[in-house]
Symmetry: C2
Subunit: 404 residues, 2 copies
């Protein structure tokens, strides 16, 4: 944990991926992030992967370094406590509906400086998830060799929405510090997805050409990039994005003369144009397949590394988990204990590295309700008697009853 956001407190009422990652990034930068959890856990509290005793390895990694206040959000008194915590804190991160008891207008009553960041499905409040907005913008019909659509495994839209939510939170706080007024930033997954397609030129492309981009399998659109099979039957992805990489690649594979012949035959100069290297891939790929097919993956990697050419073999996640550069010797990871699951393993800190600051160790996720007492007495100044009554009546939850 880096102390970039020390002094910032955020209330988070959220589930699934997008909104929890926004809180996670803030916590990893030193903010106090207080989750308000349904007693016993929200809809994603047991989401897979889980351990043998049904503790979620997913949940406990998305919620590292946060606090947990457990409330019964099905009852008015629990909902009011959440509303009061939001008002007492001033910053709120959620994926709850825009017009329910956690509407910004209702929460901002008596708290005009409130900043709310809300991840949504569709902009109109209709439900949507990563895997459905992805279909709606067209990526599954562009992925793989076809003809069937291929859905991504990585919840890319959730993740992008989460990081953008963290950015939006700080942007809205910055404005409040200058002007004094709060606001709500709504981030619909559907707008993140179609907006990204537009930002990458995809919407302009299909409207300009009047047709969809053809499916390219593992070939990267618009430049020289693809997977190739080495003599030992392994696949390596190679991607070229600069003239120097191209020139070094031809040297590394002894393809200078063969490519010059293609350039002569086609009347093009491939030295400086990503686009031409893509356009003439029908002539290029067989030459590269033959040259790469003569080398082992290890020989190929050594030649490419020497030329500063970007490449990577395909690995499984288990292989990545044991890789020194990625995990076991990576300073971003630390062997973290204290997890709710009881299982110890390398846990990730913030993606960002700050050379001028000390990187702390990743903290574990809280138990459900672990900070109920501290936060409710500290932040809302509830008396011991009131708190005891709330616990007795099941409005407030404490840990220790996780595995009844």
């Amino acid at each position: 944990m880096y102390r970039l956001l020390s002094g910032l407190s955020v209330i988070e009422a959220s589930s699934f991926v997008a909104s929890p990652t926004a809180g996670l990034y803030c916590a990893q930068f030193g903010a106090e992030v207080i989750r308000i959890d349904q007693i016993g856990g929200g809809p994603d509290f047991r989401r897979w992967p889980v351990t043998a005793r049904n503790d979620s390895l997913y949940w406990e990694n998305l919620n590292r370094g946060k606090k947990s206040v457990a409330l019964d959000l099905g009852r008015p008194e629990g909902r009011e406590l959440l509303q009061e915590l939001v008002r007492a804190t001033g910053q709120f991160l959620t994926n709850f509906p825009a017009d329910g008891f956690l509407s910004h207008a209702r929460l901002a009553e008596g708290c005009p400086g409130l900043v709310t960041v809300r991840v949504m499905g569709w902009a109109d409040g209709s439900p949507a998830l990563d895997y459905t907005v992805n279909n709606a913008v067209g990526y599954p019909l562009m992925t793989g060799a076809g003809p069937d659509p291929v859905n991504h495994v990585l919840p890319a839209w959730d993740l992008l929405s989460g990081a953008y939510a963290a950015f939006s939170l700080l942007a809205a706080i910055r404005r409040r510090e200058e002007l004094g007024c709060g606001c709500e930033v709504r981030i619909p997954l559907s707008d993140v997805a179609i907006g990204t397609a537009a930002n990458l030129g995809g919407i302009a492309e299909v409207l300009y050409s009047g047709q969809d981009r053809p499916r390219l399998g593992n070939t990267v659109y618009g430049l020289f990039g693809r997977d190739f099979v080495t003599s030992d039957g392994l696949r390596t992805m190679i991607v070229v994005v600069t003239p120097r990489q191209w020139s070094n690649l031809l040297s590394a594979l002894d393809l200078g003369a063969a490519i010059a012949a293609v350039e002569d035959e086609r009347g093009v100069n491939l030295a400086t144009s990503d686009g031409l290297r893509f356009e003439h891939r029908d002539a290029l790929f067989p030459l590269f397949e033959a040259a790469i097919g003569k080398r082992t993956q290890e020989e190929l990697a050594a030649a490419l590394d020497a030329g500063g050419i970007v490449h990577s073999g395909y690995r499984t996640m288990l292989e990545a988990a044991h890789d020194p550069r990625m995990v076991t010797d990576n300073p971003m990871f630390a062997a973290a204990g204290g997890n709710p699951s009881g299982f110890s393993y390398p846990a990730a800190g913030s993606f960002g590295t700050v050379p001028q600051m000390e990187r702390g160790v990743p903290c574990p996720a809280p138990l459900n309700g672990q900070h109920s007492e501290d936060v409710l007495t500290g932040r809302l100044r509830l008396s011991a008697g009131t708190l005891a009554r709330l616990i007795d009546t099941g409005i407030v939850g404490l840990p220790g009853k996780q595995h009844q």
Copy 2:
């Protein structure tokens, strides 16, 4: 454009996707983002998709609303001007190498408050791209039905790194405002990728189980979600994440009795557990295939909408570009002219919607060097004579020579 970040200026020296999107998000929230471009454009200035006259629809969408100062960065004088602009501004966003003429230490000489956010390949400075870090963490071997790896088309790691970079920039500025000191935040694509695998529980999962997750095609891991084919031969993705959605889905498809029989036979209650619905998918999927196979996609959509169940047919990007909800009636888009390409089409504004503020219209990208004179005279106070000499000697570029 929303004026959330009015008053913030950022110098951006960047190419490809990650770093430019960070600047784009800032510009869409009202920051002044000044790109420093190589005269004639950097390595991604002609990246596909391009128009007939080779203008990049990709570049002009990733750089909307920014300014462009064109310099010859191959010569010392051009490099010094960039360094001076960074120092005079105080905020810098880049994907240039960490140890070159744009190292944070060098830039921070005489400017201790400087905030640098740097997107990198590997953390050690080795080159990497989205498509290669993706291989290194294991996602292509989890995507699709196998056995071959399937690379994603969406540059998800670039995009996530870009949004995280925008967040990091504001976090580091916030710290400077409190403590007075600047810092550098380094964001390696490789750490974003492996850190995300860890955040989602993937690293813990493979270390706990000792094996990789099996490839599932379009089935979503750990819950009830998959694509199904309707009677008209179309595919619809359906994903269930709450008990109510499950119950409504069974009602919508008249599957209550059939599922109850499965529950009896297997001795499980599927009403409240995502995990059990995933575990017993071998029994569930045939029932859903039969029920959905009797309905047209339109009939299915109506029944699912009535029950608040999350679903989506597969569309191509061209279909999405003509869809009212996504693009043509979506307030995030506006028909934007003034593009460098000369082509007019709906352009996206910020993903975030702020109900309390007015959403301006997306601005076009700059021409290469369009703001060279304004910025160099305004920010560096160069005299007219000095500027004229820099232009004459080709250190500073102006627009108008784009299509020689």
